[in-house]
Symmetry: C2
DNA sequence: GTGAAAGCGCTAACAA
DNA sequence: TTGTTAGCGCTTTCAC
């Protein structure tokens, strides 16, 4: 591999000039620039990123910590982060905690040590504990913490909209299948449901508890939902909603005839479920991209805080076949 | 951040010794090691990876190019790669081509320039063209090319097993819904089906053509499958199989009553489809891990070729509810 | 607008 | 076993 020296001597200039041609082209005369560029491409020169980084003290990477890449939600976040980071010349280092909260602090530490900043997505561990983030650039995705940059959806509003929709269909007894107990977004959803009950006193929310945020978790909750006497069930995410619907179908119950079901996030699975799922749509990869922007801002503004809190990331309820009018006999 | 010099002077040793304590601890006396470690932790010292890499001429990263992270298959490959790479002290840089073949050479080039080696997973572009890989460490996943290391499933056997299963159920007219035209694994599947016909001359395979390897692609193929008069359909992957099944259900056809359906890969969606899907199971993340091992081997053996070709990555047919006895009237 | 000089933090020879 | 000596390839002052 040709180095900056080879190019410099081939073009008859100093290494500094070559460096500038690639870094601040505006500071170099057009004629010299062209000469250097010609020499560079003739030699197949490509700047050595590592050397540049050593000098500038940065790593050129951002870390992304997600609970589970197999979950389409996090896959989309990753796509969004990855694409935007690449545009900014940053490399994304993804780490997947396999939904094991205990791993998070360790992984966060690891990432923080090796990157310029990390995006912490839907942490399952209590982030307050994460002293790992000490003095590091961290942006939260789907979570918030005083004094830390974040992008997140307003799940309170999401649940209000959802509850409103079900109420309009005549549902009065609605079950909620929760996600990870320590999840910020689950807490917000619960707050939203509580707010909905405040607004409509004859609405009743039956909390079925916390379940694993995968298909199996939803399946596990299905029978509880039926037993609760609810005519509609709101589920933490689409994957779980699908598990729940499958189990209901297995028991010979129809959707939405016997039970209306609502998911959350509108991952691709929602659209293509056996019964297309009503769910709260989010531009997930856009949110990932936004998180990178926030991090970049933080990196650029040399840590003097002062981040605009930012509006909640938008979303909207998408009504599909899985929700319908409440059965009379309920 | 403390540097190696700070630690060295604090511990009263040379920087080399400090370096060795972290790199080759065995070459340092226990007493000095302890002293250095104490000084290091007291100062909160952590080795600067970038500097180490500059010196050793490596980047400490591996690139992974996949067609679509949203596809659970590639998400699993990524998980496997990522986990094993981390174990080897390597950072994984994932790039997603969004199933756009034209992007692959560019991305491959980009990755090759910034990493120690790249894992090229299920390339959609013709890899022969990929001069980008010139002189670079590349390991193919789900594809093969003369003289290049690779891990791949024997899809010929996979299709033979699948065809055998359907044949035993009485199916004689079987449709095949293909994936990307330029995909190696699609070519292998077709070869396997041809081989199956050779073995059972009264078996007929109807090639329905190539479809987008997503849920929508399968849905698009469903009506063709029905029109073909086939009693069973083999689909390129699970996602597409689900799309196909959904469309069949929508048309009031039962699975497997009217049509048996087989997917491929056994991603998590197969198990949880409305009708659990018969599919060819692969330890996908294990395959990703194996690819990293091969790459590591290549990096270590300083490029003197001589890679053991390796056995095909194993897999097995998992029979679930989506396949059944062929209808009599066929 | 351009160049000379001085390292960024670390590790790989080579010596002792 | 430990230390000394040279850089890895680049960018960044600071001159000119």
């Amino acid at each position: 591999m040709a180095t900056i020296h080879d190019v410099a001597s081939a073009a008859g200039v100093s290494t500094t000039t070559v460096s500038r041609v690639f870094g601040q082209p505006s500071q170099v005369t057009e004629s010299t620039r062209l000469r250097v560029q010609a020499a560079a491409s003739a030699l197949g020169y490509r700047p050595n990123r590592v050397a540049a980084l050593l000098r500038s003290g940065r790593t050129g990477t951002v870390g992304l910590l997600v609970p589970d890449l197999e979950n389409p939600y996090f896959a989309m976040v990753t796509k969004g982060v990855q694409a935007r980071a690449r545009e900014s010349g940053l490399t994304t280092f993804v780490v997947d905690s396999d939904e094991i909260a205990e791993r998070e602090p360790k992984f966060l530490q690891l990432l923080a040590d090796q990157t310029d900043g990390v995006l912490l997505c839907s942490p399952r561990a209590l982030i307050e504990d994460a002293a790992a983030a000490q003095g590091h650039n961290v942006v939260l995705v789907n979570s918030t913490l005083e004094g830390m940059a974040s992008v997140s959806v307003d799940y309170v509003v999401a649940m209000l909209k959802t509850a409103e929709h079900l109420y309009a269909l005549g549902h009065r007894r609605v079950a909620y299948v929760g996600g990870p107990q320590t999840s910020w977004s689950d807490r917000m959803r619960r707050n939203g449901l509580a707010a909905a009950v405040n607004l409509k006193p004859d609405l009743e929310i039956i909390d079925l508890g916390s379940f694993v945020p995968r298909v199996t978790g939803g399946a596990a909750a299905a029978d509880l939902a039926v037993a609760s006497g609810a005519t509609a069930t709101i589920v933490f995410n689409d994957l779980m909603a699908i598990g729940l619907m499958n189990r209901l179908t297995e028991r010979g119950l129809s959707i939405p005839g016997h039970m209306s079901v609502v998911g959350c996030d509108d991952t691709f699975v929602a659209q293509f479920a056996a019964v297309p799922l009503t769910t709260f749509h989010i531009d997930i990869s856009g949110m990932g991209a936004r998180a990178v922007d926030l991090l970049n801002q933080q990196l650029t503004s040399s840590g003097d805080g002062g981040l605009a809190p930012g509006l909640p990331w938008p979303g909207e309820l998408v009504v599909r076949a899985s929700t319908g009018v409440a059965p009379k006999h309920a």
